[in-house]
Amino acid sequence: MAIQEPPQVDLNRIGLTKGDYRGRPSTLCKGCGHDSISQRIISVAYDLALKPTQVIKLSGIGCSSKTPAYFMNQSHGFNGLHGRMPSMATGATLANHSLTAIAVSGDGDTVSIGLGQFKHLVRRNVPMLYIVENNGVYGLTKGQFSATADKGQELKYAGRNELPPIDVCLEALVGDCGFVARSFAGDPRQVEQLLKAALSHRGTAVIDIISPCVTFNDHDDSTKSYAYGKAHEEVISDFGFVPAYEEINIDYAEGEIADVRMHDGSHVRLKKLDSGYDPRDRFAAMRLMQEAHQNQTFLTGLIYINEDRPSLQEMEHLPETPLAQLPMEKLRPSREALAKVLADL
């Protein structure tokens, strides 16, 4: 007779279970794309063995912005103001640049009310992962168009949208963002792969994830629906992610891959470059996004990557010890220093 073994609990590199990365129960609608993204964040944080106490979760206002409560309970979270999370994130990461910042926003939060702060965040290259859970519609106020809604799109109460959409990825590219990606909540493998790479990026990493709203915008003719995404998703680029703690295996023929060494020592291995698209080419990325609009195609994958630009925190000449943890002797100059200033007046 076989001996009954205790149930095996898988521990990651720092000895935590996946449960240690869970959040509170979600209060979003059943089937919401956002919940699936929260699960992807949990998986990735567990896989990468992020230390939860060294992660901060930031968000604005909206359905998407509620989700930081639904993952990583052992991380500090701040659910701030509508469209103004980027400034808060800038301040928090200046105060403590050693933390890993994960921000979750929505299409209304990022490009309707928050476009200004979003652009300036990207421009400053604040080191953080910035996820846009994009469903083209306002959920909490029940079904108004956001600025990412496609032209000609119809909604039950809001009617027909006659305005062109603002493209999150294109705006990020124009702002010189060094990590721009688009994905689909219905493609968990790709979402996870992109999250891992983005978390290793030097500055602001923007992932625009089409995340269907099952209540207000999931009808078949909506470009932000599950059905549309499943039917139309075209992956533009494939890549491998090798975390800093793993060795790189050479399993590609010469010329087939290009290696991008990330800020934290991990690697993004770009594949199938010969197929024509190179995500290191910013102009090509902009062109691709414009063509996607013109041709109404739903392109996903890593759109642009560039590790060269220093982050805001690097430009500020900050000490290794986070500003928030500096001891008093670094904060208050001496009595003699004051006397000298006054003597010089």
Binding site: T53, A69, G91, N96, L99, P319, L323, L331, L338, V341
Partner: protein, 613 residues
């Protein structure tokens, strides 16, 4: 019964400052952008270094170049530093305003004017001194572009000769201004000397105004309030400053950048133990400050009224999520764009209640340079102790004008970082700690900082309803319990914010309450009033919310005049809500024409209002 002995018999002159040696005012009327600041600051510094109490006030337009500007210099042997209504000596350097400027000079006054203008010297009650200003500028050796600038040195020289200012002090002041650079010092000094020689050779002084050395400025320094505030912040350990340029607060951050570079950069590594970020607007500025405060930085911003409007939403969030932040509001005249370069105390009411819902903010009210410095560091201690935004309501007069002050006192208390739990404490407390609880009865919960290495450290910060464990709630009882605790925190704040300064006169039956830059006018007015038999007691507020001393003071006097530089009597309104049973005994003495209050306004105003009693 009032003890006032017939204030109606007091002649208005009795309420004015005496005039004579070391007691007069100069007004230099110039064109904005003509470089007159060098001339004005040189005079102020030279007079100050002669040991004579001196103040300089720049009354300037919202303009880069071309509009009229006036600079007031007052010397006062008694040490008064208020703006006076009259200036005995006019330096007329602006042709566009010269007629109007001369008309304002009181009888017995002096007019210094360019000879080339050929101004009719038709007021027999004035002394005119005409100097070939343009000729001196041309002969100075300065190029055409610099000539209008050095032309201002003509009046420095004229006043030096006419008033008896020590030439060595003028030279020292120029050297200070130009950081010891020989060429500009010599160029300007050359014009000064030419003007002095001209006066001695061509003009017979017939006016009574002159200065003589005193010992009244020993150990004092000259500084502006924005620089003092910045210096205070540097010694208060600020670590993050996010800001957006707006007059009259910009020079505070300019000074912060300079002082931080000198005092807060590690000499050996070159790393900055701080970060200063210019944001895209004031919404983002306060957003950065709040984010930084949440993560444990001592964070601050500086702004003015329109910026405060934009910061309102983040203020409400920080108030309710209980995050420390320091916000300097260098008040200017509103509403809207208003008069951006003119002073007012017009943000008091809106800032005290800033935010929607039930909010009351902690406001510090500096009245002098020492307090600008002191509140520069103390605001951080209060913000972190109270876990709330702390506003410092300075204004343009304090912030941008040069004042003499005693040496600043080095802060002796260590930084107060408030109730921040460590990983060690959390190992004991586990998940029993209460982010929004009230363990100590002061209404202040405990907080943890992101990055604290404990599985019990994290909590979720949200502007929506939360209970004492920072968990989401929409329960009415939990909502009200939280507001009741915030109320207790505000009550506790009364006991730890800077206490008012009280100066009572024996037998006084009337009181005066003032704050901030209105203080100098009240101080001088009280002396003038006492001379005509009107005894007053004085309470100067240093902070909101008010403490019990303020309530007692208001109850003690028959009438209490609330003196302030705004139209609606904003502080009076706040005080009326604090002591509603004395609302009718709180009398408004408010004025706002863009200028700092004068002692004449205060003294005459109280006399006039007393007549009505």
């Amino acid at each position: 019964m009032s003890t006032i002995t017939r204030p109606d018999l007091a002649p208005p002159e009795a309420l004015e400052s005496p005039v004579g040696v070391n007691n007069f005012s100069i007004v230099a009327a110039t064109v904005n952008g003509s470089g007159s600041q060098t001339a004005n600051n040189t005079l102020v510094r030279a007079l100050f270094k002669m040991g004579i109490p001196t103040t300089g006030k720049n009354l300037f337009p919202s303009n880069i170049a071309g509009l009229p500007t006036w600079f007031l210099i007052r010397v006062s042997s008694e040490g008064y530093i208020t703006r006076r209504e009259k200036s005995e000596i006019l330096v007329a350097m602006n042709r566009a305003t010269v007629t109007e400027d001369i008309a304002k000079v009181p009888a017995g006054g002096v007019v210094i004017v360019p000879l080339e203008w050929k101004i009719p010297q038709d007021r027999t009650d004035l002394t005119y001194y005409a100097l070939p200003v343009q000729q001196f500028a041309k002969e100075s050796g300065a190029n055409a572009k610099l000539q209008p600038y050095v032309a201002n040195m003509v009046y420095v020289g004229a006043l030096t000769a006419l008033l008896g200012i020590d030439e060595a002090e003028i030279e020292a002041a120029l050297s200070y201004h130009f950081g010891g650079k020989r060429r500009p010092i010599e160029l300007n000094l050359g014009v000064v000397k030419a003007a002095i020689a001209y006066i001695r050779a061509n003009i017979t002084k017939t006016d009574p105004f002159r200065v003589q050395r005193m010992q009244a400025t020993t150990n004092k320094v000259l500084i502006d309030g924005n620089s003092a505030a910045a210096l205070g912040a540097v010694f208060g350990g600020f670590t993050v400053c996010a800001w957006y340029p707006i007059t009259p607060s910009t020079s505070l951050v300019d000074a912060l950048i300079d002082y931080a570079k000198d005092l807060r950069v590690d000499a050996d590594t070159g790393v900055h133990n701080y970060a200063i970020v210019q944001s895209e607007d004031e919404i983002a500025a306060l957003g950065m400050v709040v984010g930084a405060g949440w993560a444990g930085a001592r964070s601050m911003t500086a702004t003015s009224g329109p910026g405060i409007s934009l910061m309102t939403e983040y203020t409400g969030l920080a108030y309710f999520t209980e995050i420390p932040a320091v916000i300097w509001d260098i008040m200017r005249m509103g509403p809207s764009t208003g008069l951006p370069t003119r002073v007012s105390q017009g943000d008091v009411l809106s800032v005290y209640y800033l935010g929607h819902g039930d909010t009351r903010q902690v406001c510090l009210l500096p009245a002098n340079m020492a307090e600008c410095f002191e509140f520069g560091w103390k605001a951080f201690d209060l913000a972190e102790r109270l876990q709330t935004p702390v506003f410092v309501l300075s204004d343009l007069d304090l912030g941008m004008n040069t004042w003499m002050t005693d040496q600043f006192e080095y802060p002796t208390q260590p930084l107060d970082r408030g109730k921040v739990l460590t990983a060690e404490q959390l190992a004991e407390l586990k998940n029993t700690w209460e982010r929004y609880g009230d363990q100590d009865g002061d209404g202040i919960g405990q907080r943890t900082l992101p990055g604290t290495d404990s599985p019990y450290a994290a909590y979720f910060t949200r502007g929506s309803g939360h209970n004492k464990y920072a968990l989401y709630t929409e329960r009415g009882d939990e909502w009200e319990a939280n507001l009741a605790r915030l109320h207790r925190k505000h009550e506790y704040a009364r006991t730890i914010v800077p206490a008012p300064v009280v100066d009572e006169m024996a037998d006084a039956r009337i009181g005066i309450i003032a704050y901030g830059s209105s203080d100098p006018a009240v101080q001088e007015a009280r002396a003038r009033l006492a001379n005509v038999g009107v005894k007053t007691s004085y309470l100067r507020l240093k902070a909101l919310p008010v403490n019990a001393t303020v309530v007692d003071f208001i109850r003690k006097y028959d009438r209490v005049y609330v003196v302030e530089n705004n139209y609606d009597g904003q502080m009076r309104k706040i005080l009326q809500t604090e002591v509603p049973d004395r609302a009718n005994q709180l009398i408004q003495l408010a004025h706002c024409d863009g200028l700092p209050l004068s002692s004449e306004f205060v003294a005459q105003g109280i006399v006039n209002l007393e007549k009505e009693q």
